[in-house]
Symmetry: D2
Subunit: 343 residues, 4 copies
């Protein structure tokens, strides 16, 4: 079977690997669709990010769906032929954080397609995948492409939960890539009333409007529109910072309402922040990292039609066009979520 | 101008009263629509409820919308001709609870159409109403009937906020009158995933399905269906108890998930509760009473199309048919929200 | 070795049982002290409580300390000779609640000395006890009697945490048995400012004052003193209801501040409650049941001198005086916490 | 009467001003004691801080106590001769934040001794002060020096409340000036179990130990001791950052437990922060600014002996030694809280 392997920046290869059989509690899955995530792009374009660097070849990918082809011993609740979304999160269930149900902080996490730790954790972009049954969420009624969106959607649902009740709140979203757009969907689903989204490009801002933003602001040309929300100490109850850019976070602080909450999802480097203003306005800057049970929540909300991610899957490539897929996904002026069809 | 005055149980009269002029900070409104609430029905059918009893004639009504006809001195932000929803909540802004922003606990509350305290607080079912500008929410884009739903919707939004984050949660609603149905809408808007509603009649349960309940259970005939959700200590994260019936609350306790939250909106009398089960499951039983800023939140969500109350306005009567309106509203087998058109 | 076995109401026997050896991950403990809890007294005086009834002989006891006498394979962090407090809570770590870290709701809980489920879970009043190492908290620096207070203290710390921040808050405690008195200590430790305690007897109220209550009220003679706190809708932010008596809970509702929180620890039967008042004041009635990590928290706070339980250990009996111990413990006019010395 | 007026950096003068009479709702107070705060020192040493600069002479001081000498019309609850602590916080009670009870975010705040806004808000270091009765907390039973500590104590109680429940938690305090030391007292009062404090000087660390820190670390010489708490992703549930130094905050991030909370009290300039680590550990960085009702809470806790600030009042100067007082207060190697006796 074929898999998509990154060897170094710009060195992406399709390679043959042996097909695995499912052990007890596991299932074998014929992959249907894999979405390309920002971290995949970092490996592809730069060989890593921050201190996380490729040191050996690694199968990429962690946003995947597929059809069950075989069940290992003792698996119940899944059937051969079913479409499933596969969670890339594999906590150890035994460390002190797992025992406190803080699974996303597991000391021994084995998250698909991560160059940290070493040896790297191999990813899920392979034609045949063996996974634990507990990683699988039944996705029947969804397209394989939607099912493969469960992972980034879970990231955004996790952040939305960490934001506290959003019913009737005013929300700002900075950075309208896939995470920003899915945060708009999640915030609206959670009852946000007024949603403003900012970015630097018209394509992504158009997507933000399609996701339901009440107003979008191109900060390259209309930053003053945002500044207007700073009257009387600010407007927004909640910020979802999805860009990882210091300028986005810094620019948002004057328009946050005193006591407001900032969810930091974007992974950037160090940022020089106006801590005095954060202090005086009593803002809360909260990190939000990955997810856990929100993976199943997202599948359920999509299956009921309560969240619709289809408009944000902008391109689908065949497996042998993987390099073209990564090139397209890297271009934020025309790709929101690019996916690869494995079968 | 005419007003709707209750003199005693079953003694409802349409009476003439003088038109008032708006003072500073006030507006004069030509009433458009008034919705009949459960408490109005208690006065009409029984002369009160619990210790709250009619002792003198009282204008009924507190769910109202209308068009601005005159502005008092110093009023800005409103214009003659605008449709507004008028909040019946008039806290003193000076007592210790108001100073802590707990306005719904105001020691000197003057809520429209309340027989407690004495002299009674006169209500809003009158052709011309003078109100404080701060009570008015601009409702343009809504029908007058929708605007008059802002008050019961606010009650339900308040309870929904008190429930904590609902995104992806399982919710039970007991009692599918207007409050129950609006709680379904509010819970879904706040991101609830699985919603079950119970009642004793098919008409209200049909309305609950229209509001988006995933499942409705007629407890008169299918109580066993609810009981099935009690496996493994229960299913529901949140209960909105909207019936005021002890049997509904008691029947829900076995199907609540440990640590779950019960919002009590229904106003009943004393209830004999299984406190030991509440303790052992660590449930939280929280009262939810009226609202404050949620009045404006509801108007905003309706104006954006994020909550649609129109299907639940089942009858509209002319002012001179007020008695028929009250009779119909009292019949839960055919009326969800009955309203009176004042102009 | 001897153990204390209840056969039926008023039929308490000291019986010989074989000494067990510790398996892997376990420790053998020579019991030092066991405290008599209210549930032990229910078995002794009434053969059970509510639906929980003795159906076969059962070793009583779950408030115990002792000295480590042997270590099973793989145990680290404990040494022979150390004084430990032993938690009676033994969740399965595998059910859905355990996996969410809701250990006190474990579907397969094996809590020492519980007649529910059947076969009963045998208790810890035995000269030699084999326990999991993870149940043991090192108690060096404490007396064995203090260490045996870790369990009821944990119950109260758990409730205190569920009460939310108490710093500067006004607290009412109803029922001044051991749980009530330890709630006073815990609430003060958590920063409560004004603490009032009520009961029906002078002995327990004296203990409440010793625990730091600012004011105690004998409800048998001075109920009007409590009623005075009902002015302007009430005074207390938090109630710890430790009596299990409906009259205590009902009497507290008028003196609770709107929005206040009631922690229900007392286990009574059904109670007829003024749900309308709970609703209108937006009170929260929260069950609090057992504990988990608070067991270690209590040991740590006692070892640092931040909580002092010694004044509340009012009697210590030799093992062969167990019946006298249970008789004395049943007399709330002279016993707060009666303990049995096993060695 | 004399007052202490800052004209420019290092230009502090004692000047005569006319005595004022109390208007309706006001009281006249003969000042007893005034404590010198860090912001007073910034004006004295540097003429301001950040963008806040002296532009005209300003009476300093906002930590004050005194004896009531006259009551204005309509004042009840205070008597001539009583010792009171006077809160420097004077919100307008009319802006949108005041109406939401977010008084510390008042748009028209008139906080004593603030160069922002302009004209500056004059301070309270004057022999005779006229204040609103609502600013006064009866401090009988306290020394005037303790009463003057109510203001910085309130700052720390406010931050402690914002930290959420502390019972049994592990707390780190960075920066052991008066705010750091009072945070130690407040955190312990709120039930913190393990408290570590860091600073760069032995004098302040000694004070931290006196306040109850379990361990103090001199970061100039023993930074490795702190780093040891970074094992397994960290130890501390809560950080009170009281230094305003970026190095303190940055150094604390690796020793914070995932999901932990950082209260930022120290007012520094911009800080370059490891936002990626904050995100991945899901830390919450919360500003904490001033206080409101915690002023009265602190007085109450001190009067009951639940918090003892006396050991931290290290020097008291006569009014005519004000310059010496400011010089001493500026020396963190020998002054914790320096106060001035006005009478």
């Amino acid at each position: 079977m074929k898999s998509i392997v990154i060897h170094a920046a710009r060195d992406l290869r399709i390679e043959d690997q042996p097909v695995e059989q499912p052990g007890p509690g596991q299932v074998q899955i014929r992959l249907a669709v894999g979405g390309i995530c920002g971290s995949d792009l970092h490996y592809y374009n730069h060989g890593g990010f921050g201190a996380v660097r490729l040191r050996e070849p690694m199968v990429l990918g962690h946003e995947v769906s597929g059809h069950v082809t075989a069940l290992g011993a003792g698996v119940s609740g899944l059937q051969v032929g079913q479409l499933v979304a596969i969670s890339p999160s594999r906590p150890c269930h035994d460390c002190k954080y797992c025992r406190e149900a803080m699974f996303n902080q597991c000391l021994n996490m084995r998250f698909y397609g991560s160059a940290m730790p070493f040896p790297h954790i191999q990813g899920a972009f392979r034609e045949v995948l063996v996974a634990d049954a507990s990683q699988c969420a039944i996705a029947e009624g969804l397209t394989p492409g939607e099912a493969a969106m469960a992972e980034p959607l879970a990231v955004c649902l996790h952040a939305t939960r960490r934001a506290g009740p959003l019913l009737g709140k005013s929300v700002l979203v900075t950075g309208c890539g896939p995470i920003g757009v899915l945060c708009i969907l999640a915030a609206r689903r959670a009852g946000a009333d007024f949603i403003v989204a900012t970015d630097l490009g018209d394509f992504t801002l158009g997507m933000a409007r399609k996701a339901g933003a009440d107003l979008t602001i191109n900060m390259a040309t209309h930053a003053d529109l945002l500044a207007g929300y700073g009257r009387d100490k600010g407007t927004f109850d909640v910020l979802f910072e999805c860009s990882g850019a210091a300028s986005a976070l810094i620019g948002a602080i004057p328009v946050m309402r005193p006591g407001g909450t900032i969810l930091q999802l974007g992974l950037g480097g160090d940022m020089t922040l106006p801590v005095q203003a954060i202090t005086a306005k009593e803002l809360s800057l909260r990190g939000s990292f990955r997810f856990h049970e929100e993976f199943h929540t997202g599948i359920s909300l999509m299956r009921k039609g309560l969240i619709d991610v289809k408009p944000f899957i902008t391109q689908t490539f065949a497996l042998d066009q993987a390099v073209a897929a990564f090139e397209t996904a890297s271009d934020r002026s025309r790709a929101m979520k690019a996916q690869i069809a494995f079968s």
